[in-house]
C-alpha cells in the first residue's frame, strides 16, 4: 500500500478552512505524546497548557498582551511571504526598533509632551525599516540571498543592543546592571482595562485591518499576489519585483520595529539584553498558521500566545520546562505545512492488488 498525491482541479475551500484546525488538533495530540514521553500526565498537562490560559480575566488580558507583538510582526510577514519575499529577520528588526525608539527616553529624559510617545513609535518604525532595508537593497543591487542576510542581521542587532546596554547606554544609577534608565510614565504606552492592556493591541488590530484592506481591495495587494504566485506574469503586467521586494521589506520591517518599541515601552519598561522571547521567529509560525492572511494572523497570534502562557503555567504547576512551548511551536508549524498540502492535493491510497483486479 502506498499513498499518492493527486492534484485537485482547484483549491479546496473546505480544506483552506479546515487545514489549520486539523493542524492544531494534530499538535495537541503530538503534545500529549511528548508529555507522556517525558513522564508527565498528558491530559492534565494539555489542560494546563492549552485551556487554563482562558480560565480567568487576568490571563485573557495577558494573552492579548502576548499576542500584540505577534500580530504586529505576523501581519507584515504575511504580506511579504505572499509576495514570495522571505524576510526571516523580523527578530532583528524588532530589536533595532526597540533600540531606536529607546533613544528618546535614554537621551531626552526630561522631554515631557504628548508628542514624546509619538516620536518614540515613529523612531521605532523607522529603525525597523532601516534594518529591513539592508537585506532588501542588497537583494536588489547584488542578488544576495535575502533569507541569509536578514537572518545574519538578527545576530548583529542583538549584539548591538547588548553592547549599548552594557556600555554607552547603561543606567549610571543602575548598580552596574546591564540596562538603560527605566522609561517614565509619559514614555510608556497608555494602559486601559484592568491596567494591563495597552494601546499596542489597538495599533496591532489597526495594522491587521489596514493590511487586510490593502490585500483585498487595492491594486497594491493584487500586485503582491501576482508577483508572489506568477512572477513572470507580473513582470509582463509591468510590475517590478525589485520594487516589491523593497516595499514588503520596509512594510514588514517597520511593523516589526513598531512591535519592538511597543514591547519595551509597555511590558519591559527599559532596554535590556533580553527584550523578546523570540517573537520575531514565532511570528513566522503565526503568519503561516494564519494562512498568510492579515485577519487569519490575528487569530493565529492569539493561539500562539496561548503556548507562551500555557508554557509558563505548565512550568509552575507540573515542572515542565519552558522549552516545551518552543517545541510545540515548531511542531505546530510542521503540521500546518503538512495539512496545507490537502488544499491543493487529494491523498489517494494505492493498493498493489488494485492493479491485479482488472485481470
Amino acid at each position: 500500500m502506498r499513498i499518492e498525491l493527486e492534484k485537485r482541479p482547484e483549491r479546496s475551500t473546505v480544506m483552506a478552512w479546515a487545514s489549520p484546525l486539523i493542524a492544531v488538533l494534530a499538535t495537541v495530540v503530538t503534545g500529549g505524546l511528548i508529555f507522556a514521553a517525558i513522564g508527565k500526565p498528558p491530559l492534565q498537562a494539555l489542560w494546563i497548557f492549552f485551556l487554563e490560559p482562558f480560565s480567568s480575566l487576568w490571563s485573557i488580558e495577558e494573552l492579548i498582551v502576548k499576542a500584540t507583538p505577534l500580530i504586529l510582526i505576523g501581519v507584515g510577514l504575511s504580506v511579504a511571504y505572499r509576495a514570495n519575499v522571505w524576510n526571516i529577520g523580523a527578530e532583528g528588526q524588532f530589536t533595532i526598533g526597540a533600540l531606536m525608539g529607546g533613544v528618546v527616553p535614554v537621551f531626552f529624559t526630561s522631554w515631557q509632551s504628548p508628542l514624546t510617545l509619538v516620536a518614540m513609535l515613529a523612531l521605532g518604525i523607522l529603525g525597523g525599516m532601516l534594518w529591513a532595508a539592508i537585506p532588501a537593497l542588497l537583494k536588489i543591487r547584488t542578488r544576495a540571498n535575502e533569507i541569509l542576510v536578514s537572518l545574519m542581521l538578527v545576530y548583529v542587532a542583538q549584539l548591538l543592543l547588548d553592547w549599548l546596554v552594557r556600555g554607552p547606554w547603561r543606567d549610571p544609577k543602575g548598580y552596574n546592571f546591564p540596562k538603560t534608565v527605566g522609561f517614565e510614565d509619559w514614555q510608556t504606552m497608555p494602559v486601559f482595562g484592568g491596567g494591563r492592556l495597552n494601546l499596542g493591541i489597538v495599533l496591532a488590530l489597526a495594522a491587521a485591518v489596514g493590511l487586510a484592506i490593502l490585500m483585498r481591495r487595492t491594486m497594491k495587494g493584487y500586485e503582491v499576489r501576482v508577483l508572489g504566485e506568477a512572477p513572470r506574469a507580473g513582470r509582463f503586467a509591468g510590475f517590478s519585483s525589485d520594487r516589491m521586494t523593497l516595499f514588503v521589506f520596509l512594510l514588514s520591517g517597520g511593523l516589526a520595529g513598531l512591535a519592538g518599541i511597543v514591547e519595551v515601552a509597555s511590558t519591559v519598561g527599559q532596554l535590556q539584553p533580553n527584550i523578546s522571547p523570540g517573537y520575531g521567529f514565532t511570528a513566522i509560525i503565526v503568519a503561516f498558521l494564519g494562512r498568510l492572511d492579515p485577519i487569519g494572523v490575528v487569530v493565529a497570534a492569539l493561539m500562539l500566545a496561548v503556548s507562551y502562557l500555557g508554557g509558563e503555567a505548565a512550568q509552575v504547576a507540573l515542572g515542565i520546562s519552558d522549552k516545551a512551548a518552543r517545541v510545540f511551536q515548531g511542531v505546530l508549524l510542521f503540521w500546518v505545512l503538512a495539512c496545507d498540502t490537502l488544499i491543493l492535493y487529494r491523498l489517494r491510497i494505492v493498493r498493489p492488488e488494485a492493479a491485479v483486479e482488472g485481470v
Binding site: N145, L160, I284, S321, G330, L333, F334
Partner: protein
C-alpha cells in the same frame, strides 16, 4: 608573534572551521539534488545535544559522534516527508525544522547544562605528531577533522566522477528529465536530504565534543546559517567549500586573536564579525552574477510531483 602562539592560532582555526565544513558539505549534496534545506541550524544543534548526551552517558566520544550523525539524519526525516512526499514549501519547512531543532534540543539538553563533557581527543601518532610545528597541525588532529577533509574529497569525486553523482546532478538540474529517464527523483532526494542531515548533525557534534566540550543552549549560534551561506559562496563546488570554510574559520579566530592583543574593541563587535563577514561574502559572490547563476542547481527549491 612567536611560533607557539602561531601554532595555537592555526590549531584553533582548524577547530573553528571543521563544524562549518561538515555541515556545509552535507547541505551542498542536498542542494545538488535540488533541495534547499534551511533547517541546517536545527539539525546541527540536535547533533550537538545528542552527541554530548551519548558521550556523557557512555563515556565514549566516538559513540557521541555516531549519535550526533543519527540525530541530524533523524531530524531530517520530517523535512523529507513534508517537502518530498507532501510537496510542502521548502523554505517554510526548513525554518520549521530549525525552530523545532532549537526547541527540542533545549528541552533534551536542560539536564546537561553546566555538566563537564567528554572531549574528543586529538590523535597522537608517535614520531609524526611530535615533529615541531608541522606535526600537531598535520598529524595531531582529531578524527572528525580528517573525516571532514576525506568527505570533501569523496563528495567531490562522487559529484563529478561517479555515475551516482551524474544522477544526483541530473535530479537537481532538471528533475523532469531525470524522471523521464527512469530515475526516482524522490528517492535520490531522500538520500541527499538524509546525508545532509547526518553531516549537519556531525558538525553540531563537533561543537559539543571537540570545540567546546559542554552543552549550552543554542550553542550553534548561527553556524548552520553560515554553513548555508558557505554553500552559496562555494558555487556548489566541494573544493571551494573547503577553502571557504577555512577562510571563514580564520577570520573568526583572528578577531579573537586581535582582542587578545588588548586592542580596545568591544567584545560584541568581534562576536558579530562572523555574521558581518557572511553578509559581505554573500554580496561579493552574488555580484559576480553570471558565474554564480550558472552554477546554481537549476531545480533548487522546486517541488517535484511525479506524474506517473
Amino acid at each position: 608573534m612567536d611560533q607557539a602562539a602561531l601554532l595555537a592560532v592555526l590549531l584553533t582555526i582548524v577547530t573553528a572551521s571543521t563544524p562549518l565544513l561538515l555541515a556545509a558539505l552535507g547541505e551542498l549534496v542536498t542542494e545538488r539534488a535540488g533541495v534547499l534545506n534551511l533547517g541546517v541550524e536545527g539539525m546541527m544543534v540536535m547533533g550537538a545535544v545528542a552527541g554530548f548526551a551519548v558521550a556523557l552517558t557512555t563515556g565514549s566520544p566516538y559513540l557521541g559522534i555516531v549519535a550526533s550523525a543519527l540525530a541530524g539524519a533523524l531530524l531530517a526525516v520530517p523535512f523529507g516527508v513534508l517537502t518530498l512526499n507532501l510537496v510542502a514549501n521548502q523554505v517554510a519547512t526548513g525554518l520549521a525544522l530549525t525552530l523545532l531543532g532549537l526547541g527540542l534540543s533545549g528541552l533534551i539538553g536542560e539536564r546537561f547544562v553546566g555538566q563537564p563533557g567528554v572531549r574528543l581527543t586529538k590523535l597522537h601518532i608517535p614520531g609524526l605528531s611530535d615533529i615541531p610545528f608541522v606535526g600537531p597541525i598535520v598529524f595531531g588532529q582529531d578524527v572528525l577533522v580528517y573525516l571532514s577533509l576525506v568527505l570533501a574529497v569523496a563528495v567531490s569525486w562522487l559529484i563529478f566522477r561517479s555515475r551516482a553523482g551524474l544522477i544526483l546532478r541530473a535530479v537537481g538540474d532538471n528533475h523532469a528529465s531525470a524522471h523521464a529517464l527512469g530515475y526516482s527523483v524522490i528517492r535520490v532526494r531522500w538520500a541527499a536530504v538524509l546525508f545532509g542531515g547526518a553531516l549537519a548533525g556531525l558538525g553540531g557534534g563537533y561543537l559539543s565534543l571537540a570545540y567546546t566540550p559542554q552543552w549550552i543552549e543554542n550553542m550553534t549560534a548561527g553556524r548552520g546559517w553560515i554553513a548555508l551561506a558557505l554553500v552559496v559562496f562555494s558555487s556548489w563546488l566541494p573544493g571551494r567549500l573547503v577553502i571557504g570554510a577555512y577562510l571563514f574559520g580564520a577570520v573568526t579566530i583572528l578577531g579573537f586573536f586581535v582582542q587578545g592583543l588588548g586592542v580596545g574593541v568591544p567584545a560584541q563587535l568581534l562576536s558579530s564579525l562572523p555574521y558581518i563577514v557572511t553578509i559581505a561574502a554573500l554580496v561579493v559572490i552574488s555580484t559576480r552574477r553570471g558565474r554564480a547563476r550558472a552554477d546554481t542547481p537549476a531545480c533548487l527549491g522546486q517541488p517535484f510531483v511525479p506524474d506517473r
